[in-house]
């Protein structure tokens, strides 16, 4: 497959792996922001190709993992209503809420449907005028334009039985929150290529300068990741802290202007709680006044629902790179992919699930 195979090429991957080995002189901790990157790192065994000086920390960029527990509970409350069809991306369905997940709601007779696009949810709303169709709009800047488009179209079509449960989050405020905490260990970032495809990368320039960290906008194929790491290490070794663009085949400095226009037409920034991390100022989107009629939270009056995380789960520390998943006392014991306590154990992009699978091999080889 063109534009894919060349970025999964063993010889090219080896070249970057060797380059990293050649330039590294001391330990560096690098965070990949996006869950999609974590997925590639695990899927292709990229950590096994890196010198031991490099530590990768899996960042908070898995939308499934950072969606707060009370949002899941709100989705479950809405999905349990007989007049509602709740639609969602697939991997949100198995995330545990306070008492159950959305798949269980489905097993109990709730209308929960998996869709690939919010526009499919819109189609379902058109086909079921007697039902309220709700789309669970989670994700970063990447999924936001399509969700904005769904709401924009619903308004143009006068589709009154459609709404979204909006839990959008934004990358730069989360990076700043992380870098402002005193005990963070991150020295360089692989920024999320798809987020930057939408937003561009100008907003990262002040962050790199203020916190003295290199930020390399990086793609999602194994060769992308290795090249992104090589560029980051090169900056770190040279004492530089700049924004560089490894993913130039997709990312422009100004991003996708049309998508950004649509975002500001429909959404406005808001404070947002991140699962395990807490509230970060201006770190999310909500529907603005012109589109607030499409907000499922107010339409179904679930704004009052509150929830508490499992006290055992240290997901917040893991997502900030302060702890490794296997530092958690519940890891692999009370918390497994079958019975997750926290979201990072659910999604294949989640750091805990990734460690659960990868760590198993290391443990067994030592026996």
């Amino acid at each position: 497959m063109r534009f894919v195979d060349e970025y999964r090429n063993e010889a090219t991957a080896r070249k970057y792996s060797e380059r990293i080995r050649a330039i590294v002189t001391r330990p560096w901790t690098i965070m990949e922001i996006c869950g999609g990157q974590t997925h590639t790192i695990v899927k292709y065994g990229i950590e096994s190709l890196l010198p031991e000086e490099i530590t990768l920390v899996h960042g908070p960029g898995c939308p499934v993992c950072v969606t707060p527990l009370e949002m899941i509970d709100k989705a479950i409350a809405i999905a349990s209503r007989p007049d509602v069809i709740l639609t969602s991306f697939g991997d949100m369905l198995r995330v545990p809420g306070s008492s159950k997940d959305l798949l269980t709601v489905k097993a109990e007779g709730g209308a929960v449907r998996m869709v690939y696009s919010p526009l499919d949810a819109l189609k379902i709303a058109k086909q079921n005028p007697d039902k309220e169709v709700v789309f669970f709009a989670v994700g970063f800047e990447t999924t936001a334009p399509a969700n904005a488009m769904a709401v924009w179209q619903a308004k143009r079509l006068g589709l009154i039985n459609f709404s979204i449960l909006c839990s959008h989050v934004l990358v730069p405020p989360a990076m700043e929150a992380l870098l402002s905490s005193e005990d963070h260990r991150v020295q360089g970032f692989l920024a999320a290529g798809h987020v930057c495809t939408v937003m561009g990368y100008e907003e990262y320039v002040p962050i790199a300068a203020r916190y003295r960290v290199p930020i390399v906008v990086t793609g999602f194929e194994p060769v992308d990741i290795l090249q992104g790491i090589a560029m980051t290490v090169q900056q770190l070794e040279a004492g530089r802290a700049e924004v560089q663009n490894q993913y130039a085949r997709s990312v422009r400095r100004e991003g996708n202007v049309l998508a950004r226009q649509l975002l500001s037409e429909v959404f406005e920034p808001t404070d947002r709680a991140w699962r395990g991390i807490g509230e970060i100022p201006m770190s999310g989107y909500r529907l603005n006044r012109d589109y607030s009629a499409y907000d499922a939270e107010t339409r179904f009056d679930v704004t009052g629902i509150e929830a508490r995380e499992s006290p055992l789960c240290i997901a917040g520390l893991v997502l900030q790179g302060l702890k490794k998943p296997h530092d958690c006392p519940a890891f692999g014991a009370q918390c497994t992919p079958e019975f997750p306590l926290g979201a990072p154990m659910v999604s294949s992009e989640g750091a805990c699930a990734a460690y659960y699978h990868f760590g198993r091999m290391q443990m067994k080889s030592q026996i």
């Binding site: 497959m1 063993e10 939308p63 097993a107 079958e338 999604s347 990868f358």
Partner: protein
């Protein structure tokens, strides 16, 4: 006389799957992954315990008339019932024929039970019956008994089919997942993930244009060809739901051996690869209906491979890996770029990722 209620009779027996974990059955309990395994191992296996069930093979191998007979059953609930490359009828025959073949048996007799939803068009039923007839003829098996039930509209989904089958195992053929041993070569007969993607391409809400067709096929003739080349075939398995990854994990766990495979030797067609990229699926976990994996003694591997490649269903057969003396119970794959990762069993259904 037994006036006791079920609860009385089972007093003292507690459900082995704690009710607190799952109060009701989820779709994932039927997905072929870890939850299915858990239900089988904790509930069915201890309840029905016997020596023939215990191996948890595709079918049971039981003594018969001084020889050995294989006996299997499977239910087909595929949606939609007609898909590119086949339909539920053809699948119901081929699937059970394959389960027998994976026991090393020559399939002989099949039963068919139909659960039909009220209102199901007679014309569609006729189509299903005709394709079962054609598949049975092609596989040279006879449908010798059956049953029909009709349920109220809304209590079923068009049509469900159960088929059971028996077949005979020739002397010298010893197929068992526990026989996988260090050094065995693992052979796969062709490109994976065709069936699952073909189904998804026509599923409501997901329709996409593709030429991908299901690989549904009866594999027993290929298996017989393999046995003619060598009897040193230790394990056979058709990686249906849950895909190649799940089948390999089941064998690794049952035989307590490590399995090592190479990504670059596992064929995935370009269109399937593209569909998996778009849908966010890993082809290793996508269903097949005309594929088999064989664990073959290293000395016999070349002969078996040659024989497979001369058969229409094995033209693209290749050694994809081997059984190793390390990481027992675990499947490890060398990725295309040379990294290594654990290929785990899925916990539930394969859920498409957000990004």
């Amino acid at each position: 006389m037994d006036n006791k209620t079920i609860a009385d009779r089972t007093a003292g027996l507690s459900c082995p799957i704690p009710i607190t974990e799952y109060k009701s059955v989820l779709l994932a309990h039927g997905g072929g992954g870890r939850l299915t395994q858990q239900m089988i191992r904790k509930m069915f296996l201890p309840s029905f315990q016997n020596a023939f069930l215990e191996p948890l093979h595709d079918g049971a191998v039981v003594p018969f008339n001084g020889g050995r007979m294989a006996f299997t059953t499977d239910s087909y609930v595929v949606n939609p019932i007609v898909f590119p490359g086949g339909d539920i009828g053809e699948l119901a025959v081929n699937g059970t024929v394959n389960d027998l073949a994976m026991c090393g048996a020559r399939p002989l007799y099949l039963s068919a039970a139909f659960i039909i939803e009220e209102g199901f068009p007679m014309e569609d039923l006729w189509r299903v019956v005709l394709s079962m007839q054609a598949a049975a003829r092609k596989a040279d098996v006879a449908l010798v008994t059956g049953d029909t039930k009709v349920v109220d509209r809304g209590k079923g989904d068009k049509i469900f089919i159960n088929t059971s089958g028996v077949g005979m195992i020739e002397p010298g053929v010893e197929i068992h997942p526990k026989r996988a041993k260090v050094g065995d070569k693992i052979i796969l007969n062709g490109p994976i993930a065709l069936h699952g993607i073909a189904i998804m391409s026509v599923r409501e809400g997901l329709e996409f244009e593709t030429r991908i067709e299901s690989d549904t096929a009866a594999l027993h003739d290929l298996v017989m060809t393999m046995f003619q080349a060598s009897r040193e075939i230790h394990v056979l398995r058709d990686p249906t739901r849950g895909g190649l990854a799940t089948a390999l994990n089941e064998i690794a766990e049952t035989a307590r051996v490590g399995i090592s495979i190479s990504e670059d030797r596992i064929l995935v067609g370009e269109e399937v690869k593209g569909a998996c990229e778009i849908l966010g699926l890993d082809p290793l976990y996508v269903a097949n209906e005309g594929k088999l994996i064989a664990f073959v003694d290293p000395d016999a591997a070349d002969r078996v491979l040659d024989a497979m490649r001369r058969h229409p269903l094995g033209k693209e057969a290749a050694v994809i890996g081997e059984v190793v003396d390390d990481h027992a119970g675990t499947v490890v794959m060398k990725s295309r770029i040379g990294g290594r990762r654990v290929v785990d069993m899925l916990s539930g259904e394969q859920l498409p990722r957000i990004c």
